[in-house]
Subunit: 257 residues, 2 copies
Amino acid sequence: MIFIGERINTGFADIKQAVQDKDPKPLQEWARKQTAAGATYLDVNLGAISSKPEDMCWMIETVQEAVDTPICIDSNKANILAEAIKVCKAPALINSTTAVAEKLEQVLPIAAEHNASVIGVVMDEAGAPKDANKRVENAGMILACAMEHGIPPEHIFLDPIVMPLKFMQEQAGQILEATNQFKLFSDPPPHVVCGLSNIANGTRHKKLINRIFLAMAIANGMDAAICDVMDTALVNAALTAELVMNKAIYADSYVKK
Amino acid sequence: MIFIGERINTGFADIKQAVQDKDPKPLQEWARKQTAAGATYLDVNLGAISSKPEDMCWMIETVQEAVDTPICIDSNKANILAEAIKVCKAPALINSTTAVAEKLEQVLPIAAEHNASVIGVVMDEAGAPKDANKRVENAGMILACAMEHGIPPEHIFLDPIVMPLKFMQEQAGQILEATNQFKLFSDPPPHVVCGLSNIANGTRHKKLINRIFLAMAIANGMDAAICDVMDTALVNAALTAELVMNKAIYADSYVKK
């Protein structure tokens, strides 16, 4: 399972304050904690508080002073991605492109040049698809375009776009079905990722819904998630689901206490 | 979700003692507790302590004095099933037949006569299948034979035979795949059930494995389980998985505390 730690994001008040003050401590503390919890990548998100590439670069460099964990550069601005990727020490994961041609032409060359992986969100000009078929169509476009740029499928993380269960309950089944289809695109297949927390938006039992949905997504082939890696029950659910899928070998000690 | 409470079984020491002493209390207490916890059926299993149909009938009648919950008659002996079903007040679930022709010809007429449902374990003369395809083949035989006896698919509960993750890890994926296929047999489809606890046999994290596997099985169409209905985390996992599958409507209060 590829766990992408979600916590270094200016959407959280402590990170916002730290970036504004250029205080490295909170970022480095979350970098260490998420790495210790098993994060494969650390998502770094500057959010709306600045549009300056140097602020994103400061965040990444600050994190890299504390840990060696690869960075997931979370920005929808090509100029930020282009600068940020230059300071990443390990091959990065770019978060993200969409299935919009202009966006793909901005983001994919950056990924190709730096041997980076890319999250491809299956959104297009019309927004987020409402059914599995359109998700698969957009995913196919992203994957084909990536391959034209010399990026192999195993560097592509397709994101079927998780919708809130509470408000769009019928979408969950479409997302699982799309996930299943994404894994059939190629051999080796692309990765499938999601921004997990969206599934439980507005609900009273967020952690329960997060971990059960993730297990069901793993049953359909999902192998990555941007999530709260500090949630031990979530991590243990994912590790168990991967055992069931025979992607890790059973040992009595396969989960943490 | 169809929860079949597993607890009234002489494999448990208190039930064994109670049946030997003809003490109704332990059976009635578990009948009430499992019903309160949401059991759809109560499995009643005489086990190896007696081969007398009247002992099974005593168990069922004792349970029925306490609750109205339908009975799942758990026996592999046709003469016990034939007598036990006569004392069931509500349409029963027979547990079970296999895909062996002789067995089907013993069990299905009993079910047809009493408007009962039947669990069809996909085992045949060669034992339990090791791959999804053979499971599907045996399930198809059970379903076809049931329909010849006038039993509709919605009265059939196909059991793909859950194997221990610890010792036969590659089987879990085959079981999920078979479950998925079973649901394509007919419209309306047959139910798919499992004896859940087998998945975690010999492991250190039984409850975690039980509930994550069940969520993954529900993602593949499973809609019934013989399980520990007193395990609130398990029940909540299953209820969450059914929400994700859009089989129940979201309400903030969909799970119990």
